[in-house]
Symmetry: C2
Subunit: 994 residues, 2 copies
């Protein structure tokens, strides 16, 4: 292992990195060494490499866990500024480590890094070696709350993992550390003893005192304007906090307070450091951005229509952005071309993680000339009484460079003006495209954007090259530092990674010859075909529909899919299948292989990128999966030894939100809300709910869920059953986490549904109350999902229609208030509105008429669904249409504050009396509400005629006040009878027949 | 610089060292990293190399001092066990660093390392590169109070210094740290800010609390049997203590307590670590010592007398040990040869730092046979009445293997025995020498001895080879792992460092041909000649007599003296010359060059070892001296800005001894004692004393003396004069530190003498009182020197004879007691006795008759000197002899408790009366005492006759009690008259004439 450290050191120092030493106080990661966290600030260049033994007390396992250590070794590299080819430099470093990058599958898999505690974040990747995460690669965007300019590239190698893979050992202790000495022999005792210290023996009171002392010293050093010792003490704080945490001694309140304190200090340190460097005149100089590309001045002339190829070459895009960007580029390019006078064929856009390829056939060689009338003064103002041109006309003609005598006359909006017809000479296609394509690149944006070494561009990942060809001519495009050309890049490990593109025609084929499938659809199809074939070879199949999202992701993780069949020991099949598939999907992006009956087989399909040594890659991926399954087995066995109640006690230590307390507090509130709402249930369902509520969220205290959070609920069900709970209780605990996402199924049981509702009502009310409502770009707690979940659950369970939004939110508010948090009524209105908007979105997304949607939106969702269905059935129903019109007319004429009371005696006119009689009859036949729309129509259609007659014969606004009041009262009664059924006004003219 | 770190790392890992990381909590030295301090314990092998940024808060200088940093970089190597050639491996590492070891002067200069705080020590060297200390090289003997087996070799490179030399820069900030970035650019801000923290801004109360918390945590971890986290917390303690110390916040009491606490913890950590490794079954295995040499079984036969060469090859011996060992080997070899029957010439022994060469001419080829009478039973027991041999005789004969009839008779001590004459056949010379030489090596011992990889040997430095030749035959010697041969080693940098020795004859010439001067005298003479020549070339001279000790040292630091003339800027000559010469002598072992009038010239002579690039070595040495003088100038200028009183206030922070308080306390006591004793002085001397006493020791607070402790007193004089004190006061302050060593001059002024006495009385009384009296091997406070100083001062200043030991000690005791420390009268007796023993030694060493010495020892030293001189003048003086005899006779007969009173009336006999009359007359003429011996003799010789007559005529012990009492009273009066002059009994028979 030490050879690897030396090789990396040598590699990076040969590339101009300074070598520094690990920091001499405990740090949790190489990032926290001032050589990173402070040096990335400000304009000074900085290239550094160092080893950093990173201390994570929480990862202490007495040296027993094969992959987890209280101190692991990071190798950290900072390149400031981004040198333009950091990935290529990184890959060469792997070769320096002795890794054959041609044989192995090395991929850059989206992974964004953020450390809110210090106001730091960056975008980048995990680097995978045959499925094993070996490096974190980040373009550092912000540190200590300050935006970084220039951006730094941070490369963090996980040295033990790399070495375990290289040496093919499965426990860190077996690593050959130096000739004749293993890692375990060298560091085993320290690993055990420091684990003891962190987990069992560190004195909590002492550590608390140390934390205070360090924080105070950091504060003093900031006041003395000494950022370096201040940082040292923030690090000591942080380590001490981690020790306390590992000792299980941090309450939620303490945690929040400690984080806030450390965050504040860290931000001040950063700001002060930047200030001090400024004062010192930036001793290391200032980074110069790379020069801007020269704007093209000449454009080749094209004579025949020709195809356009425009390729935007990037570093690995996040899979979601591949498809999104392809769409965006297609729209943008089509739009921009439409803004020109160039004729062209349909815009087609392909995308891989490393390129967006736009193809446009038949682009005409130039824009046609275009005539254009330039309007001058009105004729009346252009000529004086004598018909001689006025000064206005003369001035206009002069301005246009024509003789006043040549002015034409044209009528504009009925008024005659003088003017000039001008000819816009069409530009050549290359010139037009140069501008269009340049704008397109400059306007590229993604959900999350970053900066790199380009002074003007911003995108989800760096754009590194542009190929722009019209036919075989280069379209010169200059965007910031990028200039287009005809050189594309193929696989980084190819013999010649740079390839000249002779012409736009047949570019996808050229890429295909270099192993790259540009089309997303083609790649996906190839993956499905290959995966099914591999699965079939072991008597299995891939659930293509079920794994659709995973397939989409995989498709956009590779340029050249290379499906590889791997296997794992059948013994792991004893674990719940959700565990196995979650690990495969979420961690490894492997496709599970299933038998005909849907059960898992001990196989998977991994999709590598490009050609490689299949056996080596398979072995690597199998090894990674084995380690993960081994971990999971360990957690599973460990969890099974702990009763659910005991596990739940651990929730005290899981923070939820500073003011809302721990996860235990939250589970308590959920149970209380569920009890309130549970009156809707009866008998055994009620009993199930009570028991499940008592255990709510207990599995968050399990090892498995701590490791694999997406298994929350899944593990609750598994552990509950095994602890002797009823299937119903287990199912309710499983259900309460559903739906997890917009496509997910809602709870299948009523107790589960009530629990799930209680969960979400609490979350919404609590977080809105403490001011954590989502903003346009930020929804860290997933409140949109929670609100959508409420709606989905209520829609799925009509029996729960008694649980209105208002009732659910009020119940949640009661228990949040019990914790001393103010929940103003306006907040509940806000949450209700927020939730209703989700419902509206769901309905509109499903294609319903927006007027119908608006008409039902205020109803309980289950009722709304039924009502909406009924409305849609009534489309074309003339009787219904007249009823609607009548009711809308009633509503329009009655002031909102009119009481539905009247003295029938006063209503003496026949039309009055008839309407009164009809209303009495309808009311009687309907009985007590609520009424479904169908029921209502069946009875209330009897009102249509009397209403219309009433309006025909009767002047509602009689001069005699009592008469007027009685007439309005009658109409108000009709209004109020109809109102609960739906919002009739909202239907608008959707049923208007004329 | 980073390349150097990488080169060293690569070099040592290529040699089987494990690479570890710097420790992740602050350490003051690489030694404290558990990879050293714990791993050297126990039997497990361990080879490790690492960089260690070493934090020394006290060395913080805001980055302003060119050589001093709060964090400097050590490169640490541990070789356990000693590989047998660690020096050679080390030298090759310098070559790996790009140092041309042939061009430069690289030397191993005695430097022993001890860290009493952790019970750790070792013997070894500073390694010098052209006079610059670049490495500490230590054979680690003890750690944490535990003896190390095997011994570890510890090599600690001072990286910044090496790089400054290699890059030829004079400020650490100018080091090119990495391409394009200097040390100052990379670390300057941290250096400044951490200096601020350590020196100015760290919060003292916080750091105190941290110290307590860390110590408590260490304690708890020990109790939990976790040595690793315990050690971590001891390190944190230690660093915190250093911070407090740098902040000037450690009182003497605190310091002592803190050290005791840390020492206790550190020792427990070591013991616990060793225990735990034992319990773990020594996971890294056990070191096997190298195999023992095979004992020789056959010896070549020599036929002619031949010369013997025996060379003991060592690693660089301390200079003092070179001469001492040469003498010891000469004595040992001569003695051992004398114990054999081999004839041989005179034993001659030469020595260099790397070899002891014994030469013995004319060793006879074999021992002659020898006859030996073996005594049997007495003849009376050997034969029965019939003259037949008894069983006893028969048994004896059988035992001797002879027939009983052949028994001879021999008289032993007047009794006739039977016996047998046996012939011991002489052994061959080679066999005899093999035994003798083996014993000699096994018995080698020095003042301080160490162990290395040899399981049985122990010496001041490792013995690495033996050459033993008789003529041209190898004398096979096997001692532990060493076997003799004919291969010697010459300069390590020689083309062929191993040389075959054909025969013993002419060995010194052979060595000389390889540049090595074996003879100490020859080397010294060569150095003197060369140095004088070089000095002469710049119009100067070397004070050969004055630099005698330095010349001796230099002589034994080299095998091939290569004197090189260097120079320094004349501007430094403005500094006091003592500073310049102290730096030259003590730090650099350079010979100062002086003008004819004794003033310094801006030159020096360095003596390199062997051939080298003279210009390079000169430049290197000049650079080192320049840096040191630059430092000294800085201190000088800084000190001159501080008034002596202010400087003295700093003594509060200098610990003297735990119970005796700070140096300020001690200076206060000295002043008080000086005031008591100062009554001996008068007028201006008294005033001078008072002022000087008020400033006593102030210069210990100066930068200069903190750096160069041997300049204490010297700087006091310089700074005092420049602060406007009188020359007399300045001289007294200078004087009070004298004599510094046994050969040093005593104070020249009376006020200085009184201060010097007060200083030493306080030291002796104080330290004896707190139980810190010296033991056989340990005298850390130099109390022997202090006591000898008292004597020297008193001998040098007869006017101070009123200051008796008793009076001085009593005065000192008074002020020590005032500090609450008990000083029993027995302690004062003990100190007096201790001091008197020093006086006795001085006198005996000067060659005086031990009886004469004994006679004067109780007198005040000045008086004793005079008396002793008078005694010696009286040798051969018959009258004096009879007086002595008479007085001794008086003393012998008078019981000790007899009062010198008598009634003259009772003394009626003529002899009685005559003696009484004579006594009256002598008493009258002598007047009041004290009397010098000369005066006494002049008067008291009149008593000789009467005394003798008295004894002839009078029976002292008369039966009548009043008569007897009067006679004894008379003699007692004579006894008491003579007693103060000297101890007459002690003269013994030295004046006996018969």
């Amino acid at each position: 292992m030490q050879d690897a450290l030396l090789a990396l050191t040598r590699y990076w120092t040969d590339r101009g990195c300074m070598l520094v030493q690990p920091f001499n106080t405990e740090v949790g990661a190489g990032t926290l060494n001032p050589a990173t966290i402070l040096r990335v600030l400000g304009p000074e260049p900085w290239r550094v490499a160092y080893v950093e033994p990173s201390v994570r007390p929480d990862d202490a396992r007495y040296g027993e866990n094969p992959n987890r250590l209280q101190t692991h070794t990071q190798f950290q590299v900072i390149l400031k500024p981004d040198p333009g080819d950091p990935q290529e430099q990184y890959l060469a470093s792997l070769e320096a480590l002795g890794i054959d990058i041609h044989a192995h599958d090395i991929r850059f898999v989206e992974d964004n890094w953020a450390n809110p505690a210090t106001g730091s974040w960056g975008l980048g990747w995990e680097v995978w070696l045959d499925g094993l995460e070996i490096t974190q690669f980040t373009y550092f965007q912000q540190a200590g709350g300050m935006s970084l300019d220039p951006v730094s590239v941070e490369i963090t190698y996980g040295v033990e993992r790399i070495i375990m893979a290289l040496q093919n050992v499965s426990h860190f202790k077996d690593i050959q550390y130096a000739p004749g000495i293993t890692y375990g022999e060298a560091f085993g005792q320290a690993e055990y003893e420091m684990s003891r210290f962190y987990l069992d023996d560190a004195d909590v009171d002492t550590q608390r005192r140390l934390f205070e002392d360090y924080a105070a010293e950091a504060r003093r050093m900031l006041d003395a304007r000494l950022p370096v010792p201040a940082h040292v003490h923030v690090l000591k704080c942080s380590h001490t906090f981690n020790v306390l945490d590992a000792r299980g001694a941090v309450s939620t309140t303490e945690r929040a307070r400690a984080f806030a304190r450390m965050r504040g200090l860290a931000r001040e340190v950063s700001a002060l450091w930047a200030e001090r460097r400024e004062e010192l005149g930036h001793p290391l100089g200032r980074t110069e951005p790379p020069p801007l590309a020269t704007a093209p001045a000449e454009f080749p002339t094209v004579t025949e229509p020709a195809p356009l190829l425009f390729e935007i070459g990037t570093e690995e895009l996040p899979p979601g952005e591949v498809s999104r960007t392809a769409r965006a580029v297609r729209e943008s390019l089509a739009g921009k071309l439409a803004g020109t006078r160039l004729a062209h064929g349909d815009v087609e856009v392909h995308a891989t993680p490393r390129r967006i390829v736009a193809l446009v056939p038949d682009v005409s060689p130039a824009e046609p000339d275009a005539e254009r009338f330039v309007r001058g003064p009105r004729v009346t103002a252009a000529f004086d009484a004598e018909g001689a041109p006025t000064k206005a006309a003369q001035g206009f003609a002069r301005g246009q460079g024509v003789d006043v005598s040549t002015l034409e006359r044209v009528e504009v909006d009925g008024v005659e003006h003088v003017g000039v017809t001008r000819t816009d000479v069409g530009r050549g296609a290359v010139e037009v495209l140069s501008g269009v394509l340049g704008e397109l690149v400059a306007e590229l944006r993604a959900d999350k954007n970053m900066r790199w070494n380009d002074p003007k561009l911003s995108f989800t990942r760096p754009v590194r090259w542009l190929v722009a060809l019209l036919g075989s001519d280069v379209v010169p495009v200059a965007v910031s530092t990028l200039a287009s050309g005809r050189t594309t890049r193929v696989h980084r490990t190819a013999g010649s990674p740079l390839v000249e593109v002779p012409s736009a025609a047949g570019y996808p084929d050229l890429l295909a010859r270099h192993g790259i499938t540009a089309s997303i659809e083609d790649r996906r199809a190839a993956i499905v075909t290959a995966a099914q074939a591999l699965a079939g070879s072991v008597g299995g199949t891939i659930d293509v529909a079920g794994e659709s999202a995973l397939l989409d992701e995989i498709t956009n993780l590779v340029e050249e899919p290379n499906a590889i069949l791997g296997g794992f020991a059948s013994s792991y099949l004893e674990l719940p299948q959700e565990i196995l598939t979650t690990v495969m999907r979420k961690h490894q992006r492997y496709l599970p292989v299933r038998a005909a009956d849907g059960t898992l087989l001990p196989h998977f399909v991994a999709v590598a990128n490009g050609s490689c040594d299949v056996d080596a890659v398979r072995a690597g991926n199998e090894g990674v999966l084995r380690a993960r399954y081994e971990d999971a087995s360990f957690f599973w066995r460990a969890d099974l030894k702990v009763a659910p109640e005991t596990m739940k006690a651990g929730l005290e230590r899981l923070a939820f939100e500073e003011r809302l307390g721990s996860m235990a507090d939250r589970a308590g509130r959920i149970a209380a809300v569920a009890a309130d709402l549970g009156v809707e249930l009866s008998g055994s369902a009620r009993a199930t709910l009570e028991r499940a509520a008592a255990l709510a969220k207990f599995d968050l205290g399990s090892h498995m869920v701590v490791e694999l959070t997406s298994l929350a609920g899944v593990m609750a069900r598994e552990y509950a059953v095994r602890a002797g709970e009823s299937e119903a209780v287990a199912q309710a605990l499983f259900d309460m986490e559903r739906p997890r996402s917009s496509g997910d199924a809602p709870p299948s049981s009523l107790p589960g549904a009530v629990l799930a509702l209680a969960d979400r009502f609490d979350m919404l009310v609590g977080l809105f109350a403490v001011g954590a409502a989502p903003t346009g770009s930020s929804d860290p707690f997933g409140l949109r999902r929670a609100a959508a979940g409420v709606v989905s659950i209520l829609r799925a369970h009509p029996p729960l229609r008694g649980i209105t939004l208002a009732r659910g939110l009020a119940a949640a508010a009661e228990h949040v208030r019990a914790q001393g948090i103010e929940v103003p009524p306006a907040t509940l209105d806000e949450v209700a509105e927020f939730t209703t908007r989700r419902f509206e979105q769901q309905l509109l997304d499903a294609g319903h008429d927006h007027r119908h949607v608006a008409a039902v939106l205020a109803l309980p969702p289950a009722t709304a669904d039924e009502t909406l269905a009924e409305i849609e059935r009534r489309v074309g129903d003339a009787d219904f249409a007249t009823l609607v019109a009548a009711l809308q007319r009633v509503r329009r004429i009655v002031p909102a504050d009119t009481e539905p009371r009247y003295d029938p005696v006063i209503l003496a006119e026949p039309a009055e009396s008839a309407l009164h009689q009809a209303l009495v009859k309808v009311t009687g036949s309907l009985g007590a509400g609520p009424h479904s729309l169908a029921d209502f129509v069946a009875s209330a259609s009897g009102l249509t005629g009397p209403i219309n007659t009433f309006f025909d014969d009767i002047l509602v606004m009689a001069e005699d006040p009592p008469v007027r009041a009685a007439r309005l009262g009658l109409l108000a009664a009709i209004r109020d009878l109809a109102a609960p059924v739906l919002d009739w006004q909202a239907l608008g003219t959707s049923f208007t027949t004329d």
